[in-house]
């Protein structure tokens, strides 16, 4: 990116002054290497978002920002409903509430090494992964609506998980304000066979080992020590979320055109929060969030069952569950005043700092765990939300590495078998239905997640706590 238009305010904070239609400035968090490597679409999309009605403070981009749909991936923007603020289906994306949850296992590396191969096979046999995989659960229309209203809490009632899990999920496992009736029959039909499935693309389940701690006090509070084994699950709201995104993007795009709103990109299509379509979208999107939370809860249950067959003494407890494609109504202090805002995080993780009232007691002094997934051959990180971050980008941080190479280019560089063998040589077992899919997700096709996380840490959006490296990866 050409950085001549940016003003460097701090080592990892760059401002794009408000010009033209921009109502607020843009702020990009990155070090110099990351910002120079970002594509030109990032500042363009940051500026476009800054021009949307009711935006508050600034249009933000996280260190992993890249070219998205309307909003950049890694974009954060908050809107005031009482100042004409909008909600945007494109600002949430197709995979509503896609996110990561991490489970502590109480196991150490040696425990896994003894059963690594059968554990990989058992997880792969029990976790439906990849295109066309189906879950065992079929919901009646009434059950579907109950799931959409209740999220992980509903799943718990159906026998998936432990009551203490709910404390360790954003929104305590149940997004309020969900309206199952705002979700179309088509979206519900698309979900019919997909409850408890991982999906494909960059979604995965990994068994990981803790290889480094950066903040031992917070790590201890999170229950992490070097050599511990954890399980991380990355997936979203499956077909239901995709269909909600598709339908509302269309409806908002047509409505914008009909009302004469000129949008630089159709995907910026949005509706006032105080409008019929805005209200319906929020109800449907929150139902989609509950679908993702329920889905990850069911996958957690399947993971526990798989572990039980080989490691019956393991107790898998939830560290935390974060979502990175959302729009949430939150209270934030802006210029000394507390305001209720609708915060869009598109490919960005909520990172609430210490003392935030929405956090469970266990995280009151640490800030929330911020779970950052890497590619299957590199590393993932656990960070913690900071007080500074609350006043910076509405308590938000990055969400992952981001690709450095297209899927097609990746397949020209690597074959699936080659990737699997190379990772096996490093002790990482991959299980996937698609070799081509594995090639497309080759570690070399991703940016260095460490650089991204370091920039988030140096910008003080979130604080680095622990580094995780994969042992087993079930890839969709």
């Amino acid at each position: 990116m050409d950085i001549s238009r940016l003003t460097r305010k701090a080592e990892c904070e760059w401002h794009l002054p408000a010009t033209g239609a921009m109502r607020v400035p843009g702020v990009i968090y990155a070090d110099e290497a990351l910002i120079r490597a970002m594509d030109e679409k990032v500042p363009e999309q940051v500026a476009n978002v800054a021009a949307l009605p009711g935006i508050v403070k600034a249009s933000f981009a996280m260190p992993d920002a890249h070219w998205g749909y309307g909003f950049p991936i890694g974009g954060v923007a908050a809107f005031d409903p009482d100042a004409g603020g909008i909600v945007s289906a494109g600002g949430v994306g197709f995979d509503i509430s896609c996110g990561v949850r991490t489970l502590l296992t109480g196991l150490e590396v040696a425990d896994i090494e003894r059963v690594k191969r059968p554990l990989a096979d058992t997880l792969y046999a029990r976790i439906p992964a990849g295109v066309g995989s189906t879950g065992a659960l079929r919901l009646s229309p009434a059950q579907m609506d109950a799931m959409l209203a209740g999220g992980a809490r509903w799943a718990l009632g159906e026998g998936y998980g432990h009551p203490e899990d709910l404390q360790r999920i954003e929104e305590r496992g149940e997004m309020s304000g969900a309206d199952p009736h705002a979700v179309s029959d088509a979206a519900k039909k698309r979900q019919r066979e997909q409850m408890g499935t991982l999906g494909s693309g960059n979604h995965y389940l990994e068994v990981q080992r803790v290889t480094m701690l950066y903040d031992t006090a917070i790590a201890t509070a999170f229950g992490l020590e070097v050599g511990d084994v954890v399980v991380s699950i990355h997936c979203g709201s499956r077909g239901l979320g995709h269909q909600i995104g598709t339908e509302f993007l269309r409806e908002m795009a047509i409505a914008a055109k009909a009302s004469g709103i000129a949008l630089p990109e159709r995907e910026l299509a949005c509706a006032p929060i105080h409008s019929a379509v805005g209200g319906r979208y929020l109800g449907a999107m929150r139902a989609g969030m509950n679908c993702a939370l329920a889905n990850r809860q069911i996958l957690t249950h399947l993971t526990r069952e798989a572990f039980r067959t080989l490691l019956p003494h393991a107790h898998l407890s939830l560290l935390y569950d974060v979502s990175h494609n959302t729009c949430k109504e939150e209270a934030h202090v802006v210029d000394g005043k507390r305001r209720r805002l609708f915060v869009h995080r598109k490919g960005a993780t909520r990172a609430f700092g210490p003392g935030h009232p929405d956090l469970p007691e266990a995280f009151h002094s640490t800030g929330q765990p911020v779970l950052i997934g890497g590619s299957m051959g590199t590393a993932s990180y656990i960070l913690a939300g900071t007080t500074h971050g609350m006043g910076a980008a509405f308590g938000s941080a990055c969400h992952g590495a981001g690709r450095s190479m297209s899927r097609h280019e990746a397949t020209r560089h690597w074959g699936g078998r080659q990737v699997i063998d190379a990772l096996a040589g490093r002790g990482i077992l991959i299980r996937s239905p698609s070799q081509r899919g594995v090639a497309e997700e080759a570690p070399g096709a991703y940016k260095d997640v460490t650089e991204v996380v370091d920039a988030a840490d140096r910008a003080n959006l979130a604080r680095k706590v622990a580094r995780l490296e994969p042992m087993i990866c079930v890839k969709g």
Binding site: G132, G201, Q243, T246, E267, S406, S434, E440
Partner: protein
């Protein structure tokens, strides 16, 4: 008549090229199938009728791809042949395919939705029609 993919960050663009808009739409549908599997592996046996209507050609094109994505997801099917009729901004089409067979089709990635990025339905200088957009995977 041809189809191709073009790169877009984490996702992939589908492009159909044809002598008419109809051909370009049908070729782009093949490009969509090719995101998932090799179209040559698909037996075009069962017919599914698809109808869409939209305020303009570009939205109609996205609707067409999204209708196919929906049929693929809910029928767990893949399609290998398409016939498209267009009048004004109305589409009537038939897609022929078969149930997804994970062994034979070796599907690689599921398509979440067609987007409005790099969206265009237009006639090039040599009068060929090109219909394209990015699909989210």
């Amino acid at each position: 008549m041809a189809w191709e993919h073009f790169p877009h960050g984490a996702d992939v663009g589908v492009r159909g090229i044809g002598a008419t808009r109809e051909e370009a739409f049908a070729q782009a549908a093949l490009a969509l199938t090719a995101v998932l599997t090799d179209p040559a592996r698909v037996v075009s046996r069962d017919a599914v009728d698809i109808r869409c209507e939209a305020p303009d050609d570009e939205l109609l094109f996205v609707d067409w791809l999204n209708a196919l994505i929906y049929e693929m997801a809910t029928r767990s099917a893949v399609f290998g042949r398409f016939e498209v009729k267009l009048s004004d901004h109305r589409l009537e089409a038939t897609a022929w395919g078969e149930p997804l067979d994970r062994e034979r089709h070796r599907p690689r990635v599921e398509v979440k939705g067609a987007t409005y990025s790099a969206l265009s339905v237009a006639q090039g200088p040599d009068s060929v029609w090109i219909a394209q957009c990015v699909v989210d995977v």
